[in-house]
Symmetry: C2
Subunit: 451 residues, 2 copies
Amino acid sequence: MKMKNLPLLADLYEFTMAYSYFEHRMQAPATFSLFIREYPPNRGYFVSAGLEDVLDFLESYHFEPQEIEYLDQTGLFSEDFFQFLLKLRFSGEVFAIPEGRIFSKDEPVLEITAPIIEAQLVESYVINTMNLQVSIATKASRCVCAAKGRSLVDFSLRRTQGTDAGLKAARASYLAGFSGTSNVLAGKLYGIPISGTMAHSFITSFEEEIDAFRAFARTFPENTVLLIDTYDTVAGAQKAAEVGRELMDRGKKLRGVRLDSGDMAALSKEVRKVLREGGLEGVSIFASGGIHEFKIARVIEEGAEIDAFGVGTKVGVSADAPYTDMAYKLVQCDGRPVLKLSTGKKTLVGEKQVFRTRRDHRLFRDTIALRDEKLEGEPLLIPVMEKGRRTGPAESLAAVRERFREEFAELDDSCKALQSPRIFPVELAPGLRGLQEKTVHQVREKELGES
Amino acid sequence: MKMKNLPLLADLYEFTMAYSYFEHRMQAPATFSLFIREYPPNRGYFVSAGLEDVLDFLESYHFEPQEIEYLDQTGLFSEDFFQFLLKLRFSGEVFAIPEGRIFSKDEPVLEITAPIIEAQLVESYVINTMNLQVSIATKASRCVCAAKGRSLVDFSLRRTQGTDAGLKAARASYLAGFSGTSNVLAGKLYGIPISGTMAHSFITSFEEEIDAFRAFARTFPENTVLLIDTYDTVAGAQKAAEVGRELMDRGKKLRGVRLDSGDMAALSKEVRKVLREGGLEGVSIFASGGIHEFKIARVIEEGAEIDAFGVGTKVGVSADAPYTDMAYKLVQCDGRPVLKLSTGKKTLVGEKQVFRTRRDHRLFRDTIALRDEKLEGEPLLIPVMEKGRRTGPAESLAAVRERFREEFAELDDSCKALQSPRIFPVELAPGLRGLQEKTVHQVREKELGES
């Protein structure tokens, strides 16, 4: 499922532009910046995610004859161009903010510098994979905050927007602190712990609920988690307690029960009471069904006896913010800073760097600068690809997850508020501000006749 | 990109249930219904889409040794079970509402009957692909209504939720009446017409805007569409008109201009004026940028001079309804009707059929019935797979698109209203209602001790 060698996963305009550049022999280096223009509602930071897929894609970028054959059918391009494409590899450099770091709107999370045709052809894939993974990682991080240490498991596969999203949602939510996923293929591909026990269909396939519980406990005596809301949650808990005692008699232990509907705070307290009265201590109560950060916060506030949440659709599609306003814009061409003036669509010119400062071990402020400006603070963008090859081995997901955990702990709680968070502060460095103003002035003069 | 042979694209609980069924030698035929519980906001019908992918998946379902190896690492399953999985193929039957038809909440859009392990293991993939494609096809159909005959092109790839969604969004929106896509791979895979010309980067990569226009016109004299909002839309239109006149001098014709920002109704009128005054008639004006059904309706209402819309993110992720409440529920097991009672999650028991009646060549009402009930009207579910094989060749996307066009024309405008539409009426047949009540009664008696 790595998106290797899919150069046609692009918008046609990338090929028509590339062909026109080819015809006009435009091979100058171009720098494109990937950034997000605005925060979606209730967001004041983003979590970087998706870079590994971008690097895989760039490293393996090439055309197969059957792909050229399809382009030929469009009648838009010449044989010369196809010969050029067949030899094309990505030869450029990539600066990026590593996965698992906090970043802000307007900040380049990634900058690609390459001959303009190469940098242009990869546009759609780069946005596609980064936009999704940043959205999900950011959404998942909000759930992690809300859960205050309780365990979260990704249950979203069934209703993510397609199969690729199912895998990426599992990866991005694990990166942001989830403890596992129900998605088996994601477990295999990314080494994420997987979990899962039974659906309502398992219960209803048996004549009686308790028959289903007993059957499952026989099959998985070490890993019995029973879904108790098929008919009535409290009645289900009583039957689960009965099976739990039967397990105890065999020297085993009921691991948990799962609620999937109804008033979770109230039901979880009743269920805990039933379990305790049945002599069962230390049984985990899992909750699933329509879970998102606000619901987690609410049921915890209401004193829910819930140890872990199965988090599905609303995080897997980032339902309240199903996309970001991420753009991939040409910022420098053949050494010349460039930008567009389109209404409401500001682009910061030039090759850039972001410097992060801390105060008292907390994240304090970022400054977006030109890449050659020297400022205090930690530079966030690092060279991850040179001449089309990674500068080092692929990072492990475990390392990325740990990096996020550490940096997220340094982010002020005010920025993590679920509603109306403080926006993490960012400013522009003098060099960038100066070049930006100068470029805007020049463009207005040249294109609009202003002086 | 066909999702063949990905049996691990499943939730772990499907495997734990399957293993418990295997251990208990439960091989009875089970029927699962796929349906949507509620309408998202502003929806009163759904468009069926995704069935071809489901059938591809089922026909090619099998396990490879490396997949078994991963399952083995979990330590949950026995060697006997792995031997069983290695021989497993999908052997069941599928009844479904064909792609491109209108359907309603509560109606089974698909029913699978197979030995319970087979029917259970495919759950997540079936929901995943149908939920996405139904969401997008339904959203796209709303844009088609709003556009009143104007052409719509899918531009969503860059911000769909992953690569699979990018392809499916192109397919589902074409199915619902879009005229093409910018997505090259979708064009290749599905035979959808592709279109695209230039981005702002093309403009800014040249010293001056008009240089970029001239370069593009030289490369594509038969297909020149110029993006005119990079610096100032009206100034851009004047330069486009100049290049249009240069094309005329060479016996060619400017095909169109594209606006991508600002007040589209007002700007399109100004642009039309500039083109007319420049002696250019018949130049298409394309609009893109944040397009959705409400924006299309509004700019048309405001008298926009727009001939076609490029429709991106907000439709590609179905931003106002990024998921449906689609469920895949066991409704019959070994001949016994089954259901769950969980709060707010009704399931209709048994193998079902939907009968559609018309009045005066308009869709009038659907009735959900047991499959063996005989009612007036057209049965919507047809047998599309028997013994694990398609009952006929795969349908062409063109045929599905035409089916949708015809049936959508029969749907009353009140159901197509963009806001607060009338819900397409559906009722339950007497046989289904009777069995449903009887089953609820039996389950309540058995599980809750009620009589």
